[in-house]
Amino acid sequence: MSFLPQLIFLIILGAASFFLIKRVKFLRRNILLGRPEERNDQPGTRWRTMLLVAFGQQKMFKRFIPAFLHFFVYVGFLVINLEVLEFVLDGIFGTHRLFAPYLGGAYLAAMNFFEFLAVTVLISCVIFLIRRNVVKVPRFVKSEMKGWPSMDANIILVIEIVLMIAILKMNAADQILAERGVGHYVVVGHLFFSNLLHPLFDSFSSGFLVFVERAAWWFHIVGILAFAIYVTYSKHLHIFLAFPNTWYTRLKPKGEMENMPAVTNEVNMMLGIPVDAPTDPVAEIGRFGAKDINDLSWINVLNAYSCTECGRCTAECPANLTGKKLSPRKIMMDVRDRTEEVGKSLDAGGKGLEDGKSLLGDYITKEELNACTSCNACVEACPVNIDPLAIILEMRRYVAMEESGTPAQWNAMFQNMETSFAPWKFSPADRFNWAEKVKEEEIAD
């Protein structure tokens, strides 16, 4: 009988791990639907970027209040997970507060710190819910946030609040039982925050408190496992992917666009410049630019899965600010949603990328792409170094080179450049005319 809880715990733990591994494999395969790209140069800079931006939350602090609250939730997540280790070991071995005897006073200090974090996480999440649902901070209520994205955000906040309440409730019941000398309960010492809850529970019988304590324990650990699986279906994936995502930050100057060597070869041949390396003539060039997710780099897709839909990019986007359809956040959500669609289809034995749909057209319109000023405000704003601009520019390349679908005024600009080597229709012979005025003035002097 006494082994039953352990057995149940192991079954739950095993099932959760199984699902989690399955989900991780699904996500990994999806991300790798993007085309290969090697980006591991300058490891020193990459480590530093990851430490500062992901671990140190550097870019969050551009907006202080949410950064401050987010920092508590983040530290709470990191630190309280240490307690989850004890939970798991207790669950497996059927022990209770396994670490308490070994750590002594340090255990009490740790528990008080955990409780402090639990309270700060709880308060932060309540404020976040208010910001989203009562204050309605503009970036949280834009059109792309309608429906599931808003629901997803609220679910996450509510789960976090409930899990934190479970910890505090468990500690309160646990310590009352320990003080009463019931069974295996250990007196940890004075736990400041859960002690405040004692008056709520003092009047209950020990039997009921054991039930409350056990219920809270099970709720917390099963809740955390369920949450871990939920995260893989959610925008909340950023808690893990922020780290690889910042590692793979583009380290070149933001203004630099990636070169297309396939085009360089053709241009050199047209101009009669010898092409240095004899490139493999049968090598498939593929498409120019990006029509669908497999034309994008896998790092672009990783970016999409790392996006937590905070909307700082969209809030800084000059096009979006002035009412255009473009929203960099929507670009990232579209890439992720299309990847999910393709991934699910492949798993169901469906057509995958050949389903007659594509990122361009079915998800992202030309109107959105055409509104971008390539100003890099979105790239600068992203707290986890996502690059929506790279995707927009790759898709523009497809529109221009594969579809000849650029706006008429751009086509006119192209034509001017081809015929008179300037985006405007002027004679190249007149390029130096400005100098006449300078010469006249100098002669007059």
Binding site: F288, A319, T373, S374, C375, N376, M413, P423, W434
Partner: protein, 255 residues
Amino acid sequence: MAEMAGKGENPEVLFWVGCAGSFDDRYKAVTQAFVKILNKVGVSFAVLGPEEACTGDPARRAGNEFLFQMQAVANIQVMNGYDIKKVVTACPHCFNTIKNEYPALGGNYQVIHHSQFLQQLINDGKIALKGGGGFKGKKITFHDSCFLGRANNVYEAPRDVIKALDVELVEMKRCKTKGLCCGAGGAQMFKEPEPGKKDINVERTEEALATGASTIAVGCPFCLTMMTDGVKNKEKETEVKVYDLAEMIARDMGI
């Protein structure tokens, strides 16, 4: 440049004029101002004149990589032919393209923006500022060009140039890394904006006007056009002027 090369001379720096600098009626004044400064200071420089072609930036940002590379490779052939080592330009788009994108196509030069060049000349004491432009003590705000600022992290050089004029530099709410685009980047200069509630340059001009500055300083030909149009849209063109950095320095020097 052809003339100098013919005489076997090699200039210290190539001034890349750019298409706006060559053809835009308003912006030609910036080219002239910058050249007058270079002449006054005695910098040995050359321009390519009719041998210069568009860097290809707007074509590339509009998606036409073929056209971009045709322009780029042709320009690189000309510049490499003259053995150019150092390039200065007043246009942040040309600056970005030549500096960051030409190396992959075989064009390796030291490229500097005219704000950096002017900053250097001022620091070296080569430009003698006389306070002649009527800017002294006035409130001036600087509008960051995206292709100079975020794209290439040049924020201080233009500000140092403005401060050298002994003015009160006032910042807009969104500046430096958070600077708001004028609306012309990414080849937007060459087409009408997509449907929306407002034009980006009007939004930015409102922010500039809110600082109470009498001059909006810029360091980019597209920004100059967009901000000038924005000021006109707000009917403030008599009170508020839009100038490029080079024009301000030239006016102060009385040239």
